[in-house]
Amino acid sequence: MDRRSLLLRMELRSNPETLCVVRGALGQLAERLGFSESECRAVVLGVDEALTNIIRHAYAGQPEQPIEVWFHRIQVPSRGAGIEALEIILLDQGKKLDEAKLSGRALEDVRPGGLGLHFIRETMDEVEFSHTDGRNQLRLVKILPAQKPPAGS
């Protein structure tokens, strides 16, 4: 019920040039896990946005700060049975997240910015912020394609 196996762990720096490297790895990983092309693009977008926010907000644009990304294949309990999912955990040592700022904004308000969290929430099945041991943690879960419960159930 609670099995998890490590797929990959990445340690990187808060440099915008590293974003494409994570996208490259995750694109392949998602494809291997059986996600459709469109789902692969969604997973990659969600993680890229989460990293972008860490670089811009947690580290206020300061380069060379540590970021860790863990990718696990997990089983999440679901009505008795376990369903398989990809879990992505992002860790940073930047400014403590202010949950109040995470409310997002009305998309009707046409202005640049403010889309990142919306993209993360739209592309992932679970999004969970926390703070432990002086580190910000963002946990993202995306259910593997074959295991999606049938629509309307």
Partner: protein, 110 residues
């Protein structure tokens, strides 16, 4: 990301390729805003066909371009939206605010 400009009569077409993300979106924003605010080109057209990836910072740059075009009374047109770009714009719920053409012919039409 690569960006190059073609200057036609009273309009400029920007051909954009590669990934638009936090690290590259400034290279998109700057020439766009210059073209609109400084040069006040009446029609600014973006060819997005060869864009391989775009995230929220890329979309933000497009929104900035759109706002600048409204300020100076220029037209701001996107064309060549591939699946990747279309999906992200749809996710942003901002597809409707942009003027989008099927191809360059339509975008440059009088």
């Amino acid at each position: 990301m690569q960006i190059s400009a073609r200057h036609l009569d009273k309009m400029t077409v920007f051909d954009i390729s590669g990934d638009i993300d936090l690290s590259t979106s400034p290279e998109l924003r700057k020439p766009l805003l210059h073209e609109l605010r400084e040069l006040r080109t009446p029609r600014v057209i973006l060819n997005l066909r060869a864009v391989r990836y775009i995230d929220s910072s890329g979309v933000a740059s497009l929104v900035e371009g759109l706002k600048a075009s409204r300020d100076v009374g220029s037209r701001f047109i996107l064309f060549g939206l591939n699946t990747t770009v279309r999906e992200v714009l749809q996710l942003s719920k901002l597809v409707r605010i942009f003027e989008i053409c099927e191809n360059e012919e339509q975008a440059v039409a009088p």
